[in-house]
Symmetry: C2
Subunit: 232 residues, 2 copies
């Protein structure tokens, strides 16, 4: 089943899907369509979205998806390997920012924004899907980059010394939840809470920083909870 060793004993020289594979033109076209559809659907609904929905969105049958990608996990890997490279670049930019605190804030802000815009990306970071061997390399490059942002901000006397990288991961997870909670009602709400948390992460400050977005009112809150419009 999972043997990827070439069963070349019968077929002499037709590498139809060995290491390289010259896909038929229409097949290659469909492969791209599937990846594009997966990007959109996973971004909107997260990795829990079904492959049926992706197939429908791509305009192909579900069988075609499975012909191209052996299972859902493999499709996720194919899709997010490119995506993670982009993330890496963005964080790399933040690490180049001359001001330590600015760089730190920029990294958190960018990571969070990307994960709110692409719920699949958030799932790669925070669910078992991120376990895939395919993501190992990106992960191993991303972590030291973030570590350096953290230690630089601490050394500059801006970031409180008692927080660690995992704390920042958790902060991001929570900001993603704020984004999701309010997405239909106050899409920028997460920036407000980023502002609060950042003030909590600084060593000291004399006054609160301005928050980046307006709060929800009571009606918006009820709507975000999925409730009917309350009476009074």
């Amino acid at each position: 089943m999972t043997t990827s060793a070439p069963t070349a004993t019968t077929l002499p020289a037709t590498p139809t899907h060995g290491a390289d594979r010259p896909l038929r033109a229409d097949a290659e076209r469909n492969r791209r369509r599937i990846l594009d559809a997966a990007r959109e659907v996973f971004a909107r609904r997260g990795l829990e979205a079904g492959l049926d929905e992706i197939a429908r969105h791509a305009g192909v049958g579900t069988g075609t998806v499975y012909r191209r990608f052996p299972d859902k996990a493999r499709l996720v890997e194919a899709l997010f390997e490119e995506r993670l490279a982009l993330v890496l670049g963005t964080i790399s930019d933040a690490a180049d920012e001359p001001d330590a605190w600015q760089g730190f804030v920029g990294a958190i802000e960018a990571l969070t924004r990307m994960q709110i815009e692409d719920r699949g990306l958030k799932d790669v970071f925070f669910s078992h899907f991120g376990d895939a061997e395919a993501f190992r390399e990106h992960h191993d490059r991303l972590v030291p980059l973030l570590e350096s942002l953290v230690s630089r901000a601490k050394a500059a006397g801006e970031l409180r010394p008692d927080v660690e990288l995992t704390d920042l991961a958790v902060v991001q997870l929570t900001l993603c939840q704020v984004g999701r909670f309010a997405e239909d009602v106050e899409p920028d709400l997460w920036r407000r809470h980023l502002g609060i948390v950042l003030d909590g992460l600084r060593v000291a400050r004399s006054a609160p920083s301005p928050l980046g977005a307006p709060p929800m009112d009571a009606a918006a809150f009820d709507a975000a909870c999925g409730r009917e419009r309350g009476g009074s």
Copy 2:
């Protein structure tokens, strides 16, 4: 199907389940068992738990649950009406605390702890289940109490003036997520993040407050993501 009108044309005067109802002793016993089981199961797994699981846990058949409570929503209402009264009492105590900031912190801490210990409670607050008419009265008593805690803490010059009640609801929602994320690995992690956020909610401070729990290490983080134990 849904007609609850008494089909009393045949039975003249037996108010078996009219307005009042003298349940048979064994039936009353089972009713309590079901509520107790529901409390435990909903606390552990949230309101998404199935009634089958509750019935099994109560040692009764699913039919018995449905005989006592017409549907899941009604069971939830019966259960959490008592529970909300308890919450109200706790917040009331916090409002009586002489120090404004202490009272405010105590209220957030207590609300969050209760919701982390009882995931069903969190769902009542933050999902469509909370919509039930049965919760209206408790809701209408809780909100002004929280409002007063907020305005008092602002007036004391401790709480930043640009946050509103909905912001605190969102803060709590996120703390619940931290609790859930780390529950198997670092059950007190949410206190750490409560500490960070509280520092962000204060008007000013000269140094970070000590955090109430240790951070996760990398292995704990992976475990919390539901991942296999990574190699290096």
